[in-house]
Symmetry: C2
Subunit: 207 residues, 2 copies
């Protein structure tokens, strides 16, 4: 968890108990910010949900802003971890994109508050918002280039294709994980169709 | 302009002068909300920027919420209009997607506040936020289906592909129109590369 790594995000706990308290605070902050939004969320609301004394909050964070920043960073890490855990070394480049999207859809569906919190960062903490997408964009770009190197993808892919793939994934998550409706295709079908588009495009063959 | 059509959005002006005042208020609101965000923006800030008496505001809007809702609807219309104006009846289905993205990149580059205002609607007015994307998604889906009917695109395209295309366009706009950097490829190249991805995908031929 990145929040434990840098003093600018959270004061690192030194004990196992401290790590548990920090985790409780971040989980409680997720619910508090998701329910009330940043402006109406309060530190006392966070500590009450966490079942932690108000003083303990200040052991780890200086302010509501500080825990929000730590939370965005923590969620950003979680998204990356969910994708990585779905991948295995034997997968081809295309299969990796399929698995990453499928994992993201499942993750977003189980963590619906992620869109609201990351999106609110655009206003509360623009640097974290931008860092979130720049980091994911760079990761996708590296995967596309690796696919180009292995010959599975065409060569010359770069940031524009990576941002296109990221946008596809974010909007498919918005529509099918957050705004899901009865009768929607299953995540498996969504991921397969997005993967087909990514692999072969939508022009009729011969075009 | 949609704001003039429904009493729930703005009280429709009956005179040319009234239409001009409404336009001034919406343009001033764009700047006020972009500079301060919804919470810190004020009606007096909007009327001051518009050079319009405070009483005139209430001729058209009941509240700060009401003008925000009208503005999101107005911007949503503007995005659609910018895309439509770039299209011509002679274009093929793929060329239409290229022109729509190119027009959107130019529009976003000249109206950078659009991302901030549409994105803030997720918190201030979630229904408008969702309506904005549902409307664009439906429009793209219709274009993809028309391309399938004409034989230029594969058949069976639907909402998942439409939301994928929308996500590509929104994120390419975010990266290259809003967060543009020196040395970035020109919009022409971005639109061409996105169009290549959409047409043929990124798998090596033979895959």
């Amino acid at each position: 968890m990145k929040a434990e790594q840098g003093p600018d995000l959270a004061k690192a706990p030194r004990t196992e108990r401290g790590r548990k308290t920090l985790r409780k605070l971040l989980d409680a902050a997720t619910r508090e910010f998701a329910d009330h939004g940043f402006h109406d969320a309060s530190i006392s609301g966070i500590t009450r949900r966490a079942g932690v004394a108000l003083g303990s909050f200040y052991t780890y964070f200086d302010s509501k802003d500080a825990i929000f920043r730590a939370l965005v960073s923590d969620m950003s890490e979680d998204v990356g971890r969910a994708a990585r855990q779905a991948l295995s070394p034997s997968m081809g480049a295309l299969e990796i994109e399929h698995a990453a999207l499928h994992a993201f859809l499942s993750f977003a569906s189980e963590n619906k508050e992620i869109y609201r919190i990351i999106d609110e960062a655009e206003f509360v903490d623009p640097d974290s918002y931008r860092a979130h997408y720049e980091t994911i964009g760079t990761r996708i770009e590296e995967r596309l280039k690796a696919g180009g190197d292995s010959g599975e993808f065409i060569s010359g892919l770069g940031a524009p294709e990576a941002w296109a793939v990221m946008g596809m994934n974010v909007f498919l998550g918005l529509r099918y994980a957050i705004w899901s409706r009865e009768g929607d295709p299953a995540f498996e079908e969504i991921a397969r169709r997005a993967n087909d588009l990514l692999a072969h495009g939508i022009a009729s063959s011969g075009d």
